[in-house]
């Protein structure tokens, strides 16, 4: 039975097409994978269905009736729930408060907290959610927070559940757990849309696939059993892509950076716990780990942004100490984990951003002034060399796409001839074309003998690029392995504190 039908949906943002005459439907009791790469318009389409964005044209039918959702509440009242990619939770509230807020049971004007507890408790029992109602949300793991979000929707009697990139932040084990829950919901008659760009998961759970590309619906009714991963990815991107091809390092050289006994504390807790490793010329050393296991602190310590509790750092055999400036001057390049928050000044021009961090170096200064002419020449040069798509080097960074913004960061860092590169989440939120490009650049630099430390939440990325992998769990390195030595499931297990020998021994 067709539960939802959207016809001819179009949406423009400042004259840029986000959705172009899109048709969409959802059947009762199915799990639909809404597939497409970053920026294809998946989230926009679902936000329209959820009443968060109003379409410029098009119609929406729910259970055969034409509906007009002006705000999320309209959709909620009709039984549509959405779990956003960035969770819409209040960290300072308890689980219970988060679930009921906005639809609280009441006694007069007062909150009936006991009734709320009963009702939510009933839901938790029914779907086997393992969660405690009185915990503050700020203390929950990401997986648990996601369950709270789903409970929020179920508490509002959702029959349709939209999940935006539900697995992006989960470990392989947590992914399995959430799939069990979704399966359970499907059995209860719930209809589910999963917004994703990951093929593996699509194949694992979806009954049907719809593919969006550049704001257009490419295919609305793909049977996952009848297509291969390759065919589907071609459909999603529009051309062949070459991700995931391994190119091992040929000449790994001497130790460039030696880290010993690194400890970083935060509020009394050890975020990085006695980490030691060597980084050699001509290799990519990958750090695998679930976010929040000390990666940020590790990066901060290795780029001079934070004074660790203890660390013996040797660069080229010499002790190195100091602040971020010292590290940069010693040719340790840094591609920060969040480009807009840390890497770029979005109101400033591409030109000015291309010298950030290096603006006091000789070629950019003349006497006490900035050498505008030289800077301009330099910027034009990098723009051409790195294929940064901007109409002009005076354009503000905010006018560029995510992929091109990241290229600015990459161009800036890679062009100053660093000996060591600390690269964090280099391809987060960029389109496939840029991912290919950035991966290629990283390998190129490695082959030129640079020492690269790669930190990424994308396990596939770490596995493809790294010559060696360290697994970080709760601030400790729990395992070191060579490329191809461990499978993704094995790495995932280690990342969540599992014990390889025991787990595999039990299973096999």
């Amino acid at each position: 039975m067709e539960l939802i039908k959207m016809t001819n949906i179009s949406k423009y943002f400042h004259h840029v097409v986000a959705l172009d005459g899109v048709d969409f439907y959802l059947n009762k009791g199915e799990i639909l994978s809404l597939l497409g790469e970053n920026g294809a318009g998946k989230t926009t389409l679902m936000k329209i269905l959820y009443g968060m964005i109003s379409p410029d044209s098009g119609e929406i039918y729910y259970k055969g009736q034409k509906v007009n959702f002006h705000r999320p509440l309209d959709a909620i009242n009709m039984g549509i729930g959405m779990v956003h990619q960035h969770f819409m939770l209040v960290p300072a509230f308890t689980v219970l408060e988060n679930i009921v807020a906005g639809a609280e049971p009441s006694k007069g004007i007062f909150l009936d907290i006991e009734k709320a507890r009963e009702e939510v408790g009933e839901l938790i029992r029914r779907f086997n959610f393992n969660i405690s109602l009185d915990d503050k949300v700020e203390r929950l793991s990401v997986g648990e927070q996601q369950r709270v979000e789903i409970l929020k929707a179920l508490y509002r009697k959702a029959e349709v559940l939209i999940l935006d990139e539900p697995t992006a932040v989960l470990t392989p084990t947590e992914v399995d757990e959430i799939f069990v829950i979704l399966d359970e919901l499907r059995k209860e008659g719930c209809s589910i849309v999963i917004i994703t760009h990951k093929l593996k998961e699509t194949f694992a759970i979806a009954d049907r696939i719809s593919v969006l590309r550049d704001g257009k619906m490419i295919a609305n009714n793909v049977d996952p059993k009848k297509l291969s991963e390759n065919e589907l990815s071609k459909m999603m991107v529009g051309r062949e892509i070459n991700l995931g091809v391994k190119r091992p390092a040929k000449n790994i050289g001497k130790v460039r950076l030696r880290v010993k006994n690194l400890v970083v504390k935060d509020g009394g807790r050890k975020k990085v716990d006695n980490v030691s490793f060597d980084l050699r010329d001509g290799e990519i050393l990958g750090i695998a780990g679930v976010e929040g296991n000390g990666q940020t602190e590790l990066i901060e310590a290795l780029t001079g942004l934070r004074r660790p509790e203890s660390m013996e750092l040797e660069l080229n055999g010499k002790k190195l100490e100091g602040d971020a400036n010292t590290f940069l001057r010693n040719k340790i390049g840094h591609v920060p984990e969040d480009r807009l928050a840390m890497g770029l000044v979005k109101e400033m021009s591409v030109k000015k951003n291309l010298i950030l961090g290096y603006h006091r170096e000789e070629d950019f200064c003349k006497n006490i002034f900035l050498d505008e002419k030289n800077i301009e020449k330099y910027a034009e040069d990098l723009k051409a060399k790195y294929g940064i798509k901007a109409s002009h080097i005076e354009d503000p960074i905010s006018a560029l796409s995510g992929g091109n913004q990241q290229k600015v960061v990459i161009a800036r860092t890679f062009s100053r001839d660093p000996d060591v590169l600390i690269v964090a989440h280099p391809t987060r939120g960029v389109d496939v074309g840029a991912i290919e490009y950035i991966h290629g650049k990283l390998l190129e630099l490695r082959d030129r003998g640079k020492a690269i430390l790669l930190i990424s939440a994308d396990l596939d990325e770490v596995m493809t690029l790294s010559d060696r992998i360290l697994v970080l769990y709760e601030g400790k390195i729990v395992r070191e392995c060579q490329q191809g030595e461990l499978s993704d499931v094995e790495l995932g297990l280690l990342m969540t504190g599992g014990n390889l020998e025991m787990a595999l021994g039990g299973e096999i």
């Binding site: 001079g304 602040d323 400036n325 840390m342 109101e347 961090g357 603006h359």
Partner: protein, 376 residues
Amino acid sequence: MKDLKRKFAAGLGSFKLSFFALFFALLTGAIAIALSGYSPIETYKAIIVGSLGSKQGIILSLSSATPLIFTGLAFATAYKVKMINIGAEGQLYLGAMAGAVVGAYITGLPRLVHIPLTLLSGALVGGLIGILVVFLKVKFGASEIITTIMLNEIILLFTSYLSSGPLKPEDSVIPQTHVIQETAQLTRLAPRSQLSSAIFIAIAAAVLIHILIKKTPLGYEIQVTGLNRRAAETAGISITKMYLITFFLSGAIAGLCGSSLVMGVNRRFVEGISANYGYSGISVAALGAYNPLSIIFSATLFGILKSGAITLNRTTAVPIEFVDAIQAVVVAYVAAPRLIEAVLSLKNKIGLKKEKSLNRQQNLAEGEVIKDDGNI
């Protein structure tokens, strides 16, 4: 060529915003005047004639503008790193007191030494207050907004204590200090006026700050810090250092305003030496889009309004405080490009010429979008 056009368009955006903000503020003022039973047209006419219609008026306008250039510049300088210095009033008072002390109690110096020394004494104490504010912020996380306001009250009480007690001349009945030495007095540019060479110091300060921000690596670092603190840190820029530098400069400029008032206008410290110049500086800076050079003009504009209102006060019954009200409204309008856009689009609906998105241009021009971090 393309660059010039681009810069021009961006500049035009903020100019347009300031223009409409002032226009709507004057309009609001007109409504208020009408509601209080006076004729807005007559009043504004009287203001223009009073401030620009005679040599005396023009001199008064310029002398009224001088302290506003300083305080507007002080606010704008701190604002370059998105710090709010509401303490210009206090820094000004302390600068004035320092100037009064150095100017009066140090004797026997040649003018060429005594004048800069007295000026700089004001700048120094103002700058030190700025340093104290940054210290409290960096070390303890204390919001500079609150600390500067509290310091205003403290400094006002302190200088009032000094001028009514230890430093008061014996023959004086009102709270004030001794007259400063002639070697510390700034030249008056016109007889029997308050216009002194301080106006050149103010303009020079504005030009220097402009060059510092736009042309030097340090200015680049200041801009980056103001627009994205974390990006600045990642780029190896010390935030604390940037705060210290800008807030020291900001406080120093306000302090300079104080010492120059003593040296050019009052010749001594008197209670109430500043007619809320420190607070007016916020309006001046906002109207000048926080651009040091534009501030010279926005200060002059308010100077004209003020001198017009002073003459107005002699001829009609519209009170001088009315200028303060207009200044206050200007801040609201300048801060709200979206509001101006909304008002303009109202006009569109009744068939007037369509305005392009002011807001966007404004953002491009200065990037003045700041996030509140909720910390106080």
